[in-house]
């Protein structure tokens, strides 16, 4: 029997049976007893809930963790089975599968699918950010999976799937690139229930958003390898299946969607990683190229620093520069200078195995906020003073958004108090800057933060952020550059 096929919601007519069946099933599930594990509110509470007392399997989502993608894949799988049960019971298509919202699909696909804007539909949610329900588009800097798909490995804070964390607990600071963009950014941009992990799954678009995140992982899996660490593969998670039966699956049982979970996606895997317009020509510069003497401006010799010539053992990632202070983001563009310590960089370069490619990472350390301000900020390196759209695309290295910050910062919550840390690979950008004579001194990087606004029409940003939050600043404790 052929696997169930998840389809692009924008490839379906607004009254397609797949969408109608979903809307009807949502309505039925919303009318169920909230204590029924197959009800809408119970299924949403499995992700997160503020209701008390907590019921079995509530508050189980995993974020900032290498378990993020697999937990949500399993979560969607069992939710889809429950919804399909409702669809079939109502006489709908027996091959029903959850559609996905590919907001990066071009044209108007970055706008909320029409049935979800219909105020009479069970798919409508009025608390979404202004503009989302009226057809404003998510900008490509939020929706593009390019940063995630370009990562060669799964495990690591600046890699595809996130860093290693405990399987217990929900919110960690090991966010991978897929989880940050587009996942976290789209959550924050849609806002309302979607902006808070404690309520996100109550919005019907949540499930189509996560189907798309799962699809991006599925695309990545076509050419890359999932973790083989037994701590990951052997980890099991519990959910409710059709009929409210409690079930459990391990990560290793969720790696092949067709043979293990009986579903696939409609399009053949196509990975398109757009090359920023300014950097069409690939260059072969490799670190530590920025530091050769002939590239440095002349300067007096440095006094010897440190007690000896041996700089000590090398870590996997070596810090080579940082900002002097913190940055506060209050809805306006902001900039900070990161000074690279030439001695550290030079010592590191001299020690390196020359056959190993150098990588450079930009880290945002100790990111905090009292609550989620609902704004997504783009992060840019050495952006020109009055950047054109090409400049923005070419110097863009990642985003900052704080989905889930409430849970990390809650002083009364049963959650570790910790801050966020985001990490972005900037190797190729630095190579390009050097090749284009835009980073000749090699000792200073200007890192800019700019709020990303919704698009009023394709390619045209709104005049102002959809929401401004000067009273809820995002604090970035330090911006640092690492070498690995």
């Amino acid at each position: 029997m052929a696997p169930f096929v998840r389809q692009d919601v924008w490839s379906l007519a607004p009254n397609d049976p797949i969408i109608d069946a979903y809307a009807n099933a949502v309505a039925v599930m919303k009318n169920k007893d909230p204590l029924d594990p197959t009800s809408w509110s119970y299924q949403a509470a499995i992700h997160g809930s503020y209701a008390q007392p907590a019921r079995p399997l509530w508050d189980q989502c995993r974020h900032g963790s290498w378990y993020f993608v697999v937990w949500h894949r399993l979560y969607l799988y069992f939710f889809e089975r429950i919804v399909r049960g409702e669809v079939v019971a109502a006489g709908g298509p027996s091959d029903w599968a959850l559609p996905y919202w590919n907001y990066d699909g071009g044209g108007n696909h970055n706008t909320l699918p029409l049935p979800f804007r219909d105020t009479t539909s069970s798919l409508y949610e009025q608390q979404r950010n202004p503009g989302i329900n009226t057809g404003a588009g998510l900008p490509p800097s939020i929706t593009s999976p390019a940063f995630a798909l370009s990562r060669p490995t799964f495990v690591g804070i600046s890699e595809f799937g996130g860093g290693i964390t405990s399987p217990v607990g929900q919110f960690f600071a090991q966010t991978g690139r897929l989880e940050q963009t587009p996942h976290n950014d789209v959550h924050v941009a849609i806002g309302g229930l979607m902006g808070d992990p404690g309520t996100a799954a109550e919005d019907p678009i949540f499930w189509l958003h996560h189907a798309n995140i799962d699809r991006i992982w599925w695309l990545w899996e076509q050419h890359h390898t999932d973790p083989t660490d037994p701590r990951w593969t052997g980890q099991s998670f519990e959910f409710f299946d059709v009929g409210g039966v409690q079930v459990s699956l391990t990560d290793a049982e969720a790696l092949d969607t067709i043979t293990q979970l009986d579903y696939t996606y409609d399009h053949a895997p196509i990975i398109r990683i757009p090359i920023p317009p300014k950097w069409r020509d690939l260059v072969r510069v490799r670190w530590p190229r920025p530091w050769p003497e002939w590239l440095r401006p002349s300067r007096p010799p440095r006094p010897p620093i440190g007690p000896g010539p041996d700089p000590g053992p090398e870590l996997d990632r070596e810090l080579i520069g940082a900002s002097n202070g913190s940055v506060h983001l209050t809805g306006e563009p902001a900039q900070v200078t990161v000074r690279v310590d030439p001695d550290s960089a030079a010592a590191l370069g001299a020690d390196r195995n020359r056959e190993r490619a150098h990588r450079a990472y930009l880290d945002l350390d100790n990111v905090t906020a009292d609550r989620n301000p609902g704004t997504v900020y783009g992060v840019y390196v050495n952006l020109p003073e009055e950047p054109a759209s090409d400049d923005l695309a070419s110097h863009h290295v990642g985003n900052v958004s704080l989905f889930g910050i409430e849970r990390m910062e809650d002083p009364h919550g049963d959650e570790l108090g910790h801050t966020l840390r985001l990490s972005m690979d900037i190797t190729e950008l630095l190579d390009q800057l050097v090749a284009h004579d835009e980073w000749n001194d090699g000792e200073q990087l200007d890192v800019s933060f700019r709020p990303i606004t919704l698009e009023t029409e394709p390619g045209v940003a709104a005049d102002a952020p959809s929401v401004t939050h000067e009273d809820v600043p995002i604090r970035i404790g330090r911006v640092s550059v690492h070498y690995g």
Partner: protein, 247 residues
């Protein structure tokens, strides 16, 4: 600057093998010292074995504070390796040993503050009296349930953004060591008192270290502190019953 804190060969050690590995060696050495003390013949003969409660050698105030620091290194050290790694990872390579040294010095300085009253009181209290031991255990149980412990435990997990160059970088790691030390004192001082009340009993020190590690590594601090409070309360009840049976 580093020479102000470490002899030259100590710096080389830190440089060559890395601060966290050196810290591991220090922790192991501290445990060896505690074990050697516990198995000293004069002590074991007096107290019928190394694990019993009783008197500790009179080391004087300076020696007592020094012994307290050794205990802190042994018992708190394992839980602090993450902080040391954070300092190391977020410092320039050439300043790494210096940053870790300053952090450790500030941390131990904070822990040394309660040492003085503890040492002064230690030999004035009749620890053979069971009431003291039961009282301290029950006090530690109640302490686990106070908000100060939960908040201290959360603060134990907090890291800070460290500047990387200059005096401001030195001051930042000192401040971080001070903050981490104070959070640690708030969380663990009551458990340390249990160790003191049992006459620096080696088995109790191992158990308390394991408890501190469990508490520190738990990702649900409130639940963990409740579990520890229950465990301490049961211990207190068992001790009370045992004392009653012995008459």
């Amino acid at each position: 600057m580093v020479t102000a804190f470490l002899p030259r060969h100590g710096q080389r050690l830190l440089w060559r093998y890395g601060p966290t590995r050196v810290a591991g060696v220090c922790i192991a050495a501290a445990w060896v010292g505690l074990a050697v003390q516990a198995f000293q013949p004069s002590w074991t003969d007096q107290h019928h074995g190394p694990m019993l409660t009783g008197h500790v050698p009179d080391r004087g105030v300076i020696g007592g504070v020094g012994w307290w620091v050794v205990m802190v290194v042994a018992m708190m050290g394992p839980a602090m390796l993450g902080h040391l790694h954070h300092v190391a990872e977020n410092s320039l390579r050439r300043r790494r040993a210096r940053a870790v040294t300053l952090f450790a010095a500030a941390y131990l300085a904070v822990w040394s503050l309660p040492a003085l009253p503890v040492v002064l009181l230690e030999n004035r209290v009749d620890r053979d009296g069971p009431v003291v031991l039961v009282s301290v255990v029950m006090f530690a149980a109640i302490w686990q349930l106070l908000p100060v412990t939960g908040q201290g435990l959360r603060d134990c997990h907090r890291t800070v953004a460290l500047p990387i160059i200059g005096r401001v970088a030195d001051l930042a790691v000192i401040q971080f060591g001070r903050t981490a030390g104070w959070a640690c004192v708030r969380t663990c001082a009551a458990l340390m008192l249990v160790t003191i009340a049992t006459g620096h009993n080696l088995a109790v020190m191992v158990a308390v270290t394991a408890t501190i590690l469990w508490e520190r590594m738990s990702i649900t601090p409130d639940r963990t502190t409740r579990h520890i409070a229950v465990g301490l309360s049961l211990t207190g009840v068992v001790l009370t019953i045992g004392i009653g049976i012995r008459g």
